[in-house]
């Protein structure tokens, strides 16, 4: 939610209609690769309750601000 609020601060269209996409990573191996690739090796050894979305979210936030 924090991220959403931050992004909305940059977005004047908060009240407009929106579409959404619900997705997921393709496999645990892919998730572990993403974590390593994004520079978060501490997440790369996790199991099915994987935490890769934390580095994923951080990475996307960085990309969007770059």
């Amino acid at each position: 939610m924090l991220l959403v609020r931050e992004r909305h601060l940059d977005s004047p269209q908060i009240d407009i209609a929106m579409f959404g996409l619900i997705g997921h990573l393709t496999s645990l191996e892919h998730a572990q690769f993403v974590a390593r690739d994004l520079g978060y090796p501490e997440y790369a050894d996790e199991g099915l309750d994987f935490g890769a979305w934390h580095p994923l979210r951080s990475w996307i936030l960085l990309q969007s601000k770059a």
Binding site: M18, F19, I22, H24, S27, L28, F50, W53
Partner: protein, 308 residues
Amino acid sequence: MAPPQIVDSITVKSMTGQVIHGKYVESCFLPEMLATQRVKSATRKIINAMAHAQKNAIDITALGGFSSIIFENFNLERITRVRDIELNIRRFTTGNTHTAYIICRQIEQASAQMGLDLSKATIAVCGATGDIGSAVCRWLDARTDVDELLLVARNQARLQELQAELGRGKILDLEEALPLADIVVWVASMPKGVEIDPTVLKAPCLMIDGGYPKNLSTKIQAPNVCVLNGGIVEHSLDIDWHIMNIVNMDTPSRQLFACFAEAMLLEFEQWHTNFSWGRNQITVDKMEQIGRASVKHGFSPLLLPPLP
């Protein structure tokens, strides 16, 4: 259990100049959950992601990858409330109508690229009784002059229903169908993937990998067998997003899943409704309707690369 999160904001500019905005919700689901019998947990993750999308005022949301497949065998109407959210099913689409339309256009156009004449061709649809597979069969029957349809799936009762509906099609096992097919349309989705012996395939053979995960191109490398990722659209639209860089797309800036594109099309056209939902509800008319919108806004089916 890791909760769903909005991880990206998306802006899309159509070929018409229209601009829309969207959000990418990571469900924190992993396909291995299905293989390890954690279906309940997997389903809960998708439902939580849907509730999260609705809570964030998203008007129409596509369920990508396995998110929609879970619901083919699950009556979502049993769950209407997630904590303080009353799920409004009309805000969600599986995106399967657009996926099926794109796969059919890929069959028509990629077969022409390979010099295959559909009027003399045999097409095996593997996963024929699924939501996408049955729609592909309906289109091939109604909109093409394909010579023969082979129907492959596990459930015999559903196969017979489909055969009766179409009034045609041979029901065969996978092992029987593969050696006979000029074109194989793979629309079955299995967490563990599938093993196919490429030596049994015809040459030439066009194989359209519309299942999930898409891994046939790495498993099948044989001369005169062309594997094309199915249900993928190409576009030259301006799409400002970052998530596609890490979701295994060959050209992330120019390709995306047709099911995701369906949510964009519904937003462009202001069709805020569950355009694709349930199982075996996809008609040829609805495929044509979403197909017209797809062309209008600048999406086209991914095709084979030009010969060197």
